[in-house]
């Protein structure tokens, strides 16, 4: 049975879901993804354990839906070469990044890295919750965060991470 409280919680999560979807898939598809998520959430409400937090459950539904959509035939997907680097953007140091530039950079990140970065940066989810939401180990969250953040830095700055400091990052990823 659904309750008005379920609905209230679901509606309270809508702005966050929209923000995440907007950053994850871009403006054209974001609202469709949110709507599909909400519809699936209603159908699966029985599987949600009341008393648990609804937010990670909803983000996990959105994650799975998005993967389903990507697997659908007809969509040509091309995983970008991890070493591919965007041409350096023409932006003065300190100048704000335009949303289109950020969209383009995010789109060049592998999906797994993009998801982790956005859940941490926008939702400020604890790493353990990110792991549960995406159904991956915390160690994988941390390694995707490292690779994703360094790659995003390269994409936005147009230069390899660590180039000004000489040599690659000094720490090993601890899994």
């Amino acid at each position: 049975m659904t309750t008005p409280e379920d609905s209230r919680q679901l509606q309270a999560c809508l702005p966050g879901l929209r923000r995440y979807a907007r950053a994850l898939v871009g403006g054209l598809q974001a609202d469709d993804l949110v709507q599909d998520t909400v519809e699936r959430a209603w159908r699966k409400l029985g599987q949600w354990q009341r008393g648990g937090e609804m937010r990670p459950w909803l983000f996990s539904i959105m994650h799975n839906l998005h993967l389903d959509q990507l697997r659908r035939p007809g969509l040509a997907l091309q995983e970008l070469d991890d070493d591919s680097v965007l041409p350096a953007p023409e932006r003065a140091p300190g100048q704000a990044i335009a949303i289109g530039e950020m969209d383009a950079a995010l789109a060049r990140l592998p999906l797994g890295q993009r998801e982790v970065i956005l859940l941490v940066a926008l939702e400020q989810m604890p790493y353990e919750q990110v792991a549960a939401t995406l159904d991956i180990p915390v160690g994988t969250v941390m390694s995707r965060l490292s690779r994703g953040r360094d790659k995003l830095r390269t994409l936005l700055d147009g230069r390899p991470a660590g180039s000004q400091g000489g040599g690659p990052p000094t720490l090993k990823v601890v899994k």
Partner: protein, 262 residues
């Protein structure tokens, strides 16, 4: 000298503001000794700041009515809570109550197909009562973007939809919207208007596979009449405040056009 105890995870925790206070001094010491790691942490912090600056404004955007509605249980539609809907809500309660009684009467049969058809008519009547009184936002996508409207609703229902042309009968399409269904996915509502502002709606729902087709059925609550039928995978309900004979003529035209394309 690198401090062995510092992990990359701690650097992320620092950038994200979740590093336990007790580890702060050791991490700071590491960063003093390793400027390239300090630069990374700064860059990550800056990324967080930029991402929030760019995407946080989405939080302040008004959530579209269809999303709010999708987030409401199908039985207790969130549209009721919107001020613009409250006048309509009173009418709807009367209709829902009346049709509920009508549903209980069973309409002479008790098969699942008939129940599905009855539920269709009831949902269509409620949607009609809610949206047709709207002055500024009767439809979500207007007829000016008809191609987009049809494409969007077709995509959402998973079937190619073709809103019938009713202009020979004096009604022109003004647009449509997506609504939550009764459990079998979303439904579409197309709205038409005549020269005098009288509105009729065509409610289109995708039915579960395997439903039998039904003949035309008719139900009426006060002055709102609904002709409804199930044809293959699709359920249709045509609602308007019109005499039965007049609405029946339009329903015939709708059925004929849908058949021609089917």
């Amino acid at each position: 000298m690198r401090t062995q105890a510092i992990s990359e995870a701690q650097l992320h925790a620092l950038a994200d503001g979740v590093l336990p206070e007790g580890q702060r001094a050791a991490v700071d010491a590491h960063l003093c000794a390793h400027p390239q790691d300090a630069a990374r942490v700064d860059a990550w912090r800056e990324q967080n700041r930029q991402l929030r600056a760019l995407f946080d404004p989405v939080l302040d955007e008004a959530v579209q009515p269809h999303l709010m509605q999708a987030a409401s249980p199908p039985a207790a539609n969130g549209a009721w809570q919107r001020p613009a809907m409250q006048a309509a809500a009173a009418i709807v309660l009367v209709i829902a109550g009346g049709m509920g009684g009508w549903l209980l009467r069973g309409d002479g049969g008790d098969t699942g197909d008939m129940r599905a058809a009855s539920a269709l008519a009831r949902s269509a009547a409620i949607a009609h009562a809610v949206y047709t009184p709207e002055v500024r936002h009767p439809v979500e996508v207007g007829v000016a973007q008809e191609a987009h409207l049809v494409q969007w609703l077709s995509k959402r229902l998973g079937s190619t939809l073709r809103p019938p042309v009713l202009s020979p009968l004096g009604y022109h399409l003004i647009g449509g919207r997506l609504l939550p269904g009764d459990g079998d996915g979303p439904v579409a509502q197309f709205m038409y208007e005549d020269g005098g502002g009288k509105r009729l709606t065509l409610y289109v729902a995708k039915e579960r596979a395997g439903r039998q087709e039904t003949a035309f059925r008719y139900t009426q609550e006060k002055d709102l009449g609904v002709f409804y039928w199930i044809d293959g995978q699709m359920g249709y309900a045509l609602s308007a405040r019109l005499p039965k004979a007049e609405l029946g003529k339009i329903a015939d035209a709708v059925y004929t056009q849908l058949e021609a394309h089917g």
